[in-house]
Symmetry: C2
Subunit: 234 residues, 2 copies
Amino acid sequence: MNTSVTTKELIQLLDQYVTPHKKEVIDNVLAQRTRHLTVVLEDLYHPHNISAVIRTCDCFGVQDLYITQRLHEYDINPNVVRGASKWVTLNKFERQKNTSVVCFEELKSKGYRLVGTTPDRDSVSMEMLDISLKTALVFGTELGGLSEYARDEVEEMVHVPMYGFTESFNISVSAALLLQHLMGRLKTMNLDWGLTDEEKDELKFEWYQRIVKRSDLHLKKFFEERGLSHPINE
Amino acid sequence: MNTSVTTKELIQLLDQYVTPHKKEVIDNVLAQRTRHLTVVLEDLYHPHNISAVIRTCDCFGVQDLYITQRLHEYDINPNVVRGASKWVTLNKFERQKNTSVVCFEELKSKGYRLVGTTPDRDSVSMEMLDISLKTALVFGTELGGLSEYARDEVEEMVHVPMYGFTESFNISVSAALLLQHLMGRLKTMNLDWGLTDEEKDELKFEWYQRIVKRSDLHLKKFFEERGLSHPINE
């Protein structure tokens, strides 16, 4: 933002239109959000799976999801995602060459350790995975798994332990099992896994804009009254 | 079986056609199988979900699955189930009135405590669920949840804790999360959660029959040589 208006002031402006119940829900959700763990979906085929993973990220408090789509069209299935895409930050890398390269560079610049997921029992079991550093869990396509590039780039591979004949879980199930276990463990660790106050404010403002009817008009008026141009929702 | 042939003898007969690797896999799987926990799917709509739950049961060692289908057609999706239906015991209650009644009576006669699953946070959290007794986890339809009958019959309701805006997981994800947590906890408890030797033998014989090519011919010959009628695979 180029103006002198702070995010806190904008939150204050919309706050009056948000019910106390919704404010409480938002504060509770924000207190459980993390960017310590993140999920990368590399070129999945089935929109059903992508949508289910978005929903799972929301449920477990994983704020960011990275989606690369080099080959496949990408559409969210509203019945599966159940609105979760409104609350999870989707970082999309679509229809360009080397989507995974661009995506992985961004993750590394943000300090993430890249960990590939696999059904292969020779990899690290999720119970043993070191998550003391920021960790990005990379999921490959339903059939082929990770791309060759991703396989070279990840520092480690992790699997969910299985005790039957079937040698893999469905991707959306696998993501949920990993996040349930890793988020549970993360919360017992002596680590700052939560969002910073600034990150929380940014999300709160974003979510308020989604919740408050015609928030764009309130914001426009606010900026006009101060003789400022409206930097949001252009 | 009305003959004097024991299951052990029949296993012995087919044993020579099973590779050492497959024997080891089967023994490992049997050692992790349980009937202490079981899953009931009440009239699900989507074959996709049923198939995913079958696969999850196999992966976590839950041997029995109860499926009631009063209203909906039921078909396994081979791409989703990935062969798991061969290794999990499917108890189907189909196309009759009161399928849930018949199913629940059978479960109670086997000593199961019925526990309904729900996204409702007012129910017991899975971490707090008492699983010291044999427990059947009942999942209702994707839209309406448990039937009224099931809601009356279950002793308790359980949910998977969630920390986001989305108020429920997809059913196949929810089943996987519950089983991962409860099976993990069960294995730390001082309980005989495994199968009995007789149960293991019965399953081993059943699985050997699936694995060994033309096992029916071997068995037929075996019985004929002993002047016995063939009681299996009629």
